[in-house]
Point group: C2
Chain length 511, copies 2
């Protein structure tokens, strides 16, 4: 967890004077506080919202020091951030904060605007490649903030993250400003991660390559929130936006882990008729879902609901009736996008509904169980999904800490080693998901239950499972890989890792 010496550094950043260190997954006490006020607007009927970006930037009065935001639903195909930031740069505006629901490798193209001072602060879920390196060279004016999907929604809604202008890439958009992600040549699926921005930003601008002269039938973000619409030839590269389909893992070790995970789940009371679950989109999670599907068929169980990012495998279960309904903040492949558009049981939800802890309960709180991956885990069950073994940025918290906190049972599926490096450590390089919210680690060498959950350990006895302790697994890892010398990291910090409630759970070090 975060050292107090770093909290001192953090509290010296203007505006961050009251930042708190993480003190527990369920320690938030926001009672009595209030959401950020949303802007009041008035548009006379007949107002034409379709304008050039140049016109819009002037009309909204964008200026130095403001915060602009984007969603990452176009993933590694996005062309909108570059288009907008370049137009802003041409106006000589600088010192902006870039708030993105995440940043992919494709955003390497923004590096020149970081180097020239157009963008000097960042908050995001992930940052990697050239932007990650820039951050870890200490190139920003203040530490980058890494947030969970639910945490970002919370930050926006509480006013901690005030967005001056949200630029929303829109695969389809009508002249009234209604937009969706399921139609058009650049369809990306659910726009859940853009919804908090659209609700709370001072100015909301849709950037579309799919302008419709007639009102959209399918509306993800309504005209009531969208001030301007601007058109471009292409908002992105379809090849980077959605994969054709996501495949089940074929790696034998991963399949073994997935089978173990399914056996663990099936042995607990969380596996029951009308269960609610979330499986990630990784190969092991999908493989686990496949084994769970078999168990469900055997027992004649159905899932009442699926929650979280959707891929073709989830769609298959929805079509089979094995999942009765789906609450979907994000789609990973074309099958999922098509399902969202056409299946009345497939529902788009916002990042806030999905995972914001500061509501009357986000959908992650419904979960009986969730199966998640990890870059690293440690003997306290803390999980890292943000940095590699050398402290280098490569992943993103995403919804990991949110789902882990919400679910009654959180399983981490992870190989004990990757290459020759142990993935189970004494201390993870970066704590992203606290061990308090992680219940079971499943590896190819055995299964360790968090000692906080003796109830789960009890269920697993006598089921033919390879049960062990996290310490024994750690010893096994050391035996296989040799004890690595501890990683030496700089005292200079270039990023903070926010837990979903806004407390600081760890820091990112300069490299």
């Amino acid at each position: 967890m975060v050292d107090e010496k770093y909290m001192e550094q953090i509290r010296k950043v203007p505006g961050w004077e009251t930042k708190q260190a993480f003190s527990g997954a369920y320690n938030a006490h926001p009672e009595g506080s209030r959401m950020a006020p949303r802007p009041v607007k008035f548009f006379r009927p007949g107002t034409d919202k379709v304008k050039s970006l140049d016109y819009i930037l002037d009309a909204i009065g964008l200026k130095d020091g403001m915060t602009i935001s984007f969603h990452h639903c176009l993933r590694n195909g996005d062309a909108v951030m570059l288009y907008v930031v370049d137009a802003i740069a041409k106006k000589g505006i600088k010192d902006l904060t870039l708030s993105a629901s995440s940043l992919s490798k494709v955003q390497d193209c923004l590096l020149p605007y970081f180097e020239s001072g157009v963008i000097t602060a960042v908050d995001t879920s992930g940052a990697r490649s050239k932007l990650g390196s820039f951050i870890q060279k200490g190139g920003l004016k203040k530490p980058a903030i890494f947030r969970t999907h639910g945490g970002r929604a919370r930050a926006i809604e509480t006013g901690e993250l005030h967005i001056d202008a949200a630029f929303i890439a829109a695969p389809a958009c009508d002249r009234f400003g209604n937009l969706n992600g399921v139609e058009g040549k650049s369809a990306c699926g659910s726009l859940g991660y853009a919804m908090p921005d659209a609700e709370y930003a001072d100015h909301v601008i849709a950037v579309t390559d799919g302008l419709s002269d007639i009102p959209l039938d399918y509306v993800s973000i309504p005209q009531t929130q969208v001030d301007y619409v601007t058109t471009v030839d292409s908002i992105g590269d379809p090849a980077g936006i959605a994969t054709g389909s996501i495949r089940v893992s074929k790696n034998p070790a991963e399949l073994l882990i997935s089978r173990y995970a399914a056996q663990v789940i099936a042995a607990t009371p969380y596996f029951h008729d009308n269960m609610v679950f979330q499986f990630g989109s990784g190969g092991m999670a999908i493989a686990t879902a496949g084994y769970i599907r078999q168990e469900m068929l055997k027992k004649n169980y159905t899932a009442a609901a699926g929650v979280g990012g959707v891929s073709g495998f989830h769609v298959q279960m929805l079509k089979e009736g094995l999942i009765k309904t789906f609450y979907d903040p994000q789609d990973f492949d074309l099958t999922a996008i098509d399902s969202l558009r056409t299946d009345i049981k497939h529902h788009e939800i916002s990042a806030s509904a999905y995972a914001n802890p500061f509501s009357a309960c986000p959908y992650v709180n419904m979960l009986d169980f969730t199966v998640l991956s990890a870059t690293e885990i440690d003997v306290d069950f803390n999980v890292n999904v943000l940095t590699d073994s050398y402290g280098k940025l490569l992943g993103a918290p995403g919804g990991h800490p949110d789902a882990a906190a919400g679910a009654q049972m959180t399983l981490i599926t992870m190989p004990l080693l990757r290459g020759r490096l142990p993935m189970l450590l004494d201390h993870v390089t970066t704590v992203v998901t606290p061990g308090e919210s992680v219940d079971v680690l499943v590896t190819e060498y055995g299964i360790a239950v968090n000692p906080r959950r003796p109830d789960i350990a009890e269920c697993l006895k006598g089921k033919g499972l390879t049960l062990t302790s996290i310490e024994a697994l750690r010893e096994k890892a050391v035996k296989l890989s040799g004890k690595a010398s501890p990683l030496e990291l700089s005292d200079k910090i270039c990023g903070v890792v926010e837990y979903r409630d806004g407390s600081i759970i760890d820091v990112i070090h300069q490299l």
Copy 2:
């Protein structure tokens, strides 16, 4: 419009010191102001929301002087207001403000709680029967507020109407707090009018006779907004909630008016392929829609979207493909409710999305034309839909002023006389919808175009329509009915009529 002497009375009411008189349908300048802050909440996963009403009233700390709210989607079948108010009264709590999206005759049962001081202030769209009489006897502590559907959403979102506890009648509700109006024995359809309350009230309590142990597939109001769920045997009487079906008018004069209205529409540029329209649910509006349907078939036109309350006739057009999509804040009959549940092109929207003028544009702003009714109209095209010819409360503004202001062309269909009373006057008894937003009056004696709209008058020339002036129609009415002596109303006011932007457009007099 409202007399300054009444504004002086109004501004003496505590909290109303800054009330403004109506000054124009598009004169609002809310720029720079902000929505009301919403409450921040935190629920630990696994929290049980299902409690007794008694427990809930204590838990939320309901006390004297607070504001409680209800929706009117159960219409004249509602049993929830009585159930909740009675429980509150039994705790000795008094001096409450009752905020309802509207009040029907069934709410006569609340009279004892008005008389005993449990409820001492009211805001609503309509009030009638015994509650209307109570208000017009001067029984409340301060004037009742009559709002439009869009105006109520605005008042909630801007904080002008702060709701301490919203009690939401829920035909279906799961244990997480997700609820809908389309399932269960008391299905009422769209819960659009309850949505602003659920978003902004300090405490949100679902009252349901359709508790589901598994998460709902169809969610109208999400669990993120609902704090408690309480169960009752019945939330209402199905016979009063929805009619079996709404029929087209069979009255020859009304059919004539409807045919004229359709001819007017068809002669203007607002009748085009991909038009957007709203027809009310009254017999004349449905009959007009029937004629328009014929015109559409002739020209091979379809409507891109329908907006507003839905009845079976709209559903028929949606199923025929004559309407491509529907944005629906309210359903009037069983066919409409069923369509909302099953038709992927039929979309539930909130009162705010529908009609709140203080957003980046409500759905009423989409309207090419709307066909509305009137209780009275005057030579300035001002419309009354709230009081009768004697000043007695009987109707409700509803969405009338909202649709009129949003539409490019607003038609009023109205018989010149009802019984022996003229409905076209020198001055309407109560101004609800300003003449500025009314374009055409269609009566059985001819069609009058508002002089503000010479463009429409021009379109109608040479089309074989009985065109006349509003003054000539007024003379005709006087000739047919004799000139009535002007209505003498008390100077004492017992209600204010708010225009959708919050300004006061008229007052209700004591009787």
